[in-house]
């Protein structure tokens, strides 16, 4: 993939940062507003896909490459299972870690016990997985071009 014209590049340079920021916002506020780890991760992956489509894979690889996304995917999955296992070891079922992490006041960010942390783990995992799949498909397409 070679990338697109100057107009597309300029516009995508302007809007990629807000897209990524919006994805992170959706992940972090999953327990307060509609959204959560999965939609936020999908939005972040869509921002990365926009970068690849407009700038080409070679330029994007300097920022984020296939191996990084694979590591993010595995790390998110590990984090999720680790938090869940910790909760079960302490005697709660996926639970809000009563005592360890304070329940907090509802509608504050520091509330809902473990749920924000699960959301962060899932957000990292989904963004990594979808970006890895997209970059993988682009690499396959590029190999077809070279042959």
């Amino acid at each position: 993939m070679k990338g697109m014209s100057l107009i597309v590049r300029t516009i995508s340079r302007l809007i990629v940062a807000p897209i990524l920021l919006f994805g992170i916002y959706i992940v972090l506020h999953g327990h307060l507003t509609p959204g959560g780890g999965f939609p936020g991760g999908v939005i972040i992956a869509a921002g990365i896909a926009l970068l690849i489509l407009s700038y080409g894979l070679k330029a994007t690889t300097k920022k984020i490459n296939y191996d990084t996304t694979k590591v993010l995917d595995s790390f998110g999955a590990f984090l999720f299972v680790a938090i869940a296992s910790g909760a079960i070891a302490l005697g709660y079922f996926f639970a809000p870690y009563l005592g360890l992490i304070a329940m907090g006041t509802p509608a504050q960010w520091f509330s809902a016990g473990g749920i924000p942390y699960y959301n962060i783990a899932i957000g990292i995992k989904v963004a990594g997985a979808l970006a890895a799949m997209f970059i993988g498909l682009v690499i396959v397409i590029m190999m077809g071009e070279e042959e």
């Binding site: 869509a46 595995s74 509608a107």
Partner: protein, 180 residues
């Protein structure tokens, strides 16, 4: 009343889009028609007051469409012509009729639209905030009450990324080098 009317219009729109997506010869038009179905579904979710699902649907629809269009750009826009009737389609129709017949008898026992069949939702509404502290009940359900479901969902996505990685590994070793 107006919202129900909008939903009916969107539902008709989706059915027409789905039929066009299956029947049209040009594959790019088929992809766009499939996109019409997906984005109409997003609006329907929003009207049914399920913003969480609507956000997911919109995001996934965008990525799916990008991937389909990218695949079309590298292959051909012409679809394979299919006969309008074959043994497979006939068998499918027979099964559809059988399914609808059994479904219609079972449908009469279900509660009407808007009344949930599962009464545990009342518990979630009344105790969700005290139990979990999350004011977004969807987050409370998918990450606390139904945490194992979310774990399974994450594993499904992990497995599909693993599948892409496995396919790509074959490509890489065939070329011998690492692709930047």
């Amino acid at each position: 009343m107006e919202i129900i009317l909008v939903q009916w219009i969107l539902l008709v729109f989706m059915v027409v889009g789905a039929i066009i997506a299956v029947e049209i010869k040009d594959l790019l038009s088929a992809v766009i028609a499939a996109g019409v179905v997906g984005f109409s579904l997003t609006v329907v979710f929003l009207l049914l007051q399920a913003p969480d699902v609507a956000i997911v649907q919109a995001g996934v629809e965008v990525i799916t469409l990008i991937m389909l269009v990218a695949a079309l750009a590298k292959t051909t826009r012409e679809g394979i012509p299919t006969p309008w009737m074959s043994t497979g389609i006939l068998l499918g129709l027979v099964f559809l009729l059988l399914f609808l017949g059994t479904f219609a008898t079972g449908l009469t026992d279900l509660p009407p639209f808007g009344n949930p069949a599962i009464n545990v939702t009342n518990y979630y509404f009344q105790h969700g905030v005290q139990d979990t502290g999350a004011i977004n009940l969807v987050a409370a359900i998918i990450l606390d009450y139904r945490g194992y479901d979310t774990l399974g969902e994450a594993i499904v996505l992990f497995t599909s990324a693993l599948g892409v990685a496995a396919v790509l590994r074959g490509f890489k070793s065939k070329k011998g080098g690492k692709e930047e």
